[in-house]
């Protein structure tokens, strides 16, 4: 479709963390946290990224905003993260040095799951929200910065006088509002939302989701929305990608994936979600056995085969290729049919 404008193309992204041991600190193993992830985001769409903890969601998010290397300097990153600027220019974030990245940092921001640890406890809310402006918009006058902070406070539903307070004086939901205001400060093009509502009560979660939907429209910003709650993801996303052990195993329109999950992992994940309805029938649930294996010791072939109810010997031979099961709905399993029970 020609009217779809590209925002981000992630191509065969791998993020590996070497593990060292012994007195010579020899590399003994590699944590393959992200092991060949590709997806495309278009402007105006929200992509939801779901999967159990440890499957690599946060690492994908951090790598897109180019902070993985800053946090873990021996991380090995390969692949491409092509950011399409509004003016059409294309930059590969995966291969930018810290210095070269600087001009683009204000365009991609991140909101974190734990609003408490992600906000500096010694800064006032005003300072927290202002900081990205001080760094990325040095040309802005002090007065303009102050005005923008006040506007942001208002937009996320906080009062001006609350700007003078410290993070610990706020509830979890309010802290998440502060994190959102901070992420919006530089008017970014893309915000990676890393489980922004996972730690919140359902009522507060609903408020924050509503806020994000409103702000997305008002600020014309795109979201990559990471979460493990599939109903939340379906609610907020246009498309959904399901991750397992460093790989995307299924992606498609959010309704395609939610109402017609096809990869055996997506099916199991969805069937595990409890429903607030005593008649929903827990009896039909497929309960996955065991935990996610560690990315240190990944199964060969399909990463899911050790827990997959329909695994067969062939599944050990290489990562299954993606098949388009229905228009725009891609699944990395050759043995399932869309809409047919496994």
């Amino acid at each position: 479709m020609s009217d779809k404008r590209l925002l981000l193309e992630v191509k065969d992204l791998k993020v590996h963390f070497p593990v060292y041991a012994g007195i010579f600190q020899r590399k003994i193993a590699t944590v393959k946290a992200v092991d060949g992830v590709s997806f495309t985001m278009y402007r105006g769409e929200t992509l939801g990224l779901v999967g159990e903890s440890g499957c690599g969601k946060t690492t994908v998010g951090r790598t897109i905003i180019n902070i993985t290397k800053l946090m873990f300097h021996d991380a090995e990153i390969t692949g491409e993260i092509l950011y399409h600027m509004p003016n059409g220019e294309v930059i590969d974030f995966a291969n930018l040095t810290k210095k070269k990245m600087r001009p683009y940092r204000s365009e991609v921001q991140m909101i974190f799951q734990d609003p408490y640890s992600s906000l500096n406890p010694r800064m006032t809310v005003q300072q927290i929200i202002e900081e990205p402006l001080t760094i990325h918009r040095p040309e802005m006058s002090k007065e303009d910065r102050r005005k923008r902070v006040l506007m942001l406070l208002d937009r996320v539903g906080l009062q001006a006088e609350q700007g003078g307070r410290y993070p610990h004086e706020f509830s979890g939901g309010q802290r998440q509002r502060i994190g959102i205001a901070r992420a919006l400060a530089t008017n970014p093009d893309l915000i990676i939302c890393d489980e922004p509502v996972s730690a919140l009560d359902v009522s507060v979660q609903a408020q924050v989701i509503n806020l994000m939907l409103d702000l997305q429209e008002e600020f014309d910003v795109n979201f990559l929305f990471i979460a493990h709650d599939l109903s939340v993801v379906e609610h907020i996303s246009t498309r959904i990608a399901v991750m397992y052990l460093g790989h995307i195993v299924e992606y498609g329109g959010s309704e395609q994936v939610y109402f017609n999950p096809t990869h055996p992992y997506s099916r199991a994940l969805l069937s595990a979600v409890p429903q607030a309805d005593p008649d929903s029938g827990r009896a039909t649930r497929t309960i996955l056995e065991g935990d996610v294996p560690t990315p240190l010791n990944k199964p060969t072939g399909c990463p899911f085969r050790t827990r997959c109810p329909i695994a067969r010997p062939d599944c050990a031979n290489g990562f299954p290729s993606f098949e388009e099961k229905e228009s725009g709905h891609w699944v990395a399993c050759p043995y399932v049919e869309a809409g047919v029970e496994a």
């Binding site: 408020q207 989701i209 493990h228």
Partner: protein, 343 residues
């Protein structure tokens, strides 16, 4: 339905001394736990769920906390009067407890086997070898592979889900009649949550007369696992009934708000705003007088909800609500106002 009560909690008041005054965390809570049932307690954080559970276990830190009123009877026996020694005996033996974060109740410097065996020997007249054997059996029962070997491992060598299984094994090793599980799956992935809930329920069914109090902020977990449910807010029970009653015919505006806040994907509908409860849970020191929910309630009635505390009233057999809207004298007013109280 007349049922045998395992636990009877009557007019429980538990408060904490803070620098800002007395915090009434649990303020007049009464409920029964029947034999063979799973009773859920739901509500937003701060509503008094954990304090209720800790009160039943008599684990309220004192100071600053204190159970200032009420009665808690286990099989007819008042436990608030028990001497410390007997209470310690009862805890872990007749009432077991599982917490949200197993690491807070597991000691990181001892092996799982050591901790399990100690727990068993504290309550049962058995030698060490027997206690170890029993520990391995319990680990096996909760689905931990190679249990004998795992007894030698330390808590950090288990994944989150496996640690929660260990906690369940420990809590059940003396075969308690009542298991209190406080947010046992909140920190876990849905797939692991499904495993743990399934395990807890199947173990409960195997044990004659055993009951569970399941505390959670997740209504969906309650819908799928509990027989009855208590909805708490502001240290008080706002609604109580069977799961079917409360989910199919919710009465309290707070229960409605909670149910409506849950994202409920509907095929063919796109990006709509959720119906959220407005405002925040008030700080416990700033709870309003009269109805605790009146600051967030869309149906609050002038001259009533802000002045008079509603009573917990039975609307249909076994289904109670604390809200003026359901009093006979206000029925007309609400109908005239056209309040649509259905989800």
């Amino acid at each position: 339905m007349s049922q045998k009560s395992l636990l009877e909690v009557g007019d429980l008041v538990t408060q904490f001394k803070t620098d800002r005054g007395i915090a009434k965390a649990v303020n007049g809570v009464s409920f029964d736990v029947y034999s063979n049932e799973v009773l859920g307690i739901v509500g937003e954080s701060g509503s008094g769920k954990s304090v209720t559970a800790l009160s039943v276990m008599r684990l309220i830190p004192n100071p600053p906390g204190d159970i200032v009123n009420g009665s808690i009877k286990l099989e007819g026996k008042e436990i608030l009067d028990l001497p410390i020694e007997e209470m310690r005996e009862l805890r872990g033996n007749e009432i077991g407890m599982i917490f949200q974060e197993p690491m807070t109740s597991l000691n990181s410097v001892f092996t799982i086997g050591f901790q399990m065996k100690e727990g068993i020997m504290l309550h049962q007249e058995v030698d060490e070898a027997t206690a170890m054997k029993k520990s391995a059996e319990m680990l096996d029962m909760v689905g931990i592979p190679s249990p004998e070997k795992r007894l030698n491992d330390y808590p950090h060598q288990f994944s989150g889900g496996m640690r929660q299984r260990v906690m369940i094994a420990m809590a059940l090793s003396n075969n308690p009649k009542l298991l209190i599980a406080d947010e046992p799956t909140t920190a876990l992935d849905v797939t692991i949550q499904a495993q743990i809930l399934e395990l807890m329920l199947s173990l409960q069914k195997q044990r004659e007369g055993a009951s569970i109090i399941l505390i959670t902020h997740d209504l969906a977990v309650v819908a799928e696992t509990c027989d009855r449910v208590i909805v708490m807010y502001g240290g008080k029970i706002q609604e109580i009934g069977t799961v079917r009653q409360v989910f199919k015919n919710p009465l309290h505006p707070y229960t409605h708000g909670l149910l409506e806040s849950i994202p409920h994907p509907v095929e063919g509908s796109r990006l709509h705003r959720l119906k959220a409860i407005r405002g925040n849970v008030p700080n416990i020191m700033e709870l309003p007088k009269a109805c605790k929910f009146n600051t967030r309630c869309d149906y609050a009635l002038k001259g009533l909800c802000f002045d008079v505390e509603p009573e917990l009233a039975e609307i249909e057999p076994g289904h109670f609500v604390r809200c003026h809207l359901y009093e006979e004298s206000t029925e007309l007013t609400t109908k005239e106002k056209g309040i649509e109280l259905s989800v």
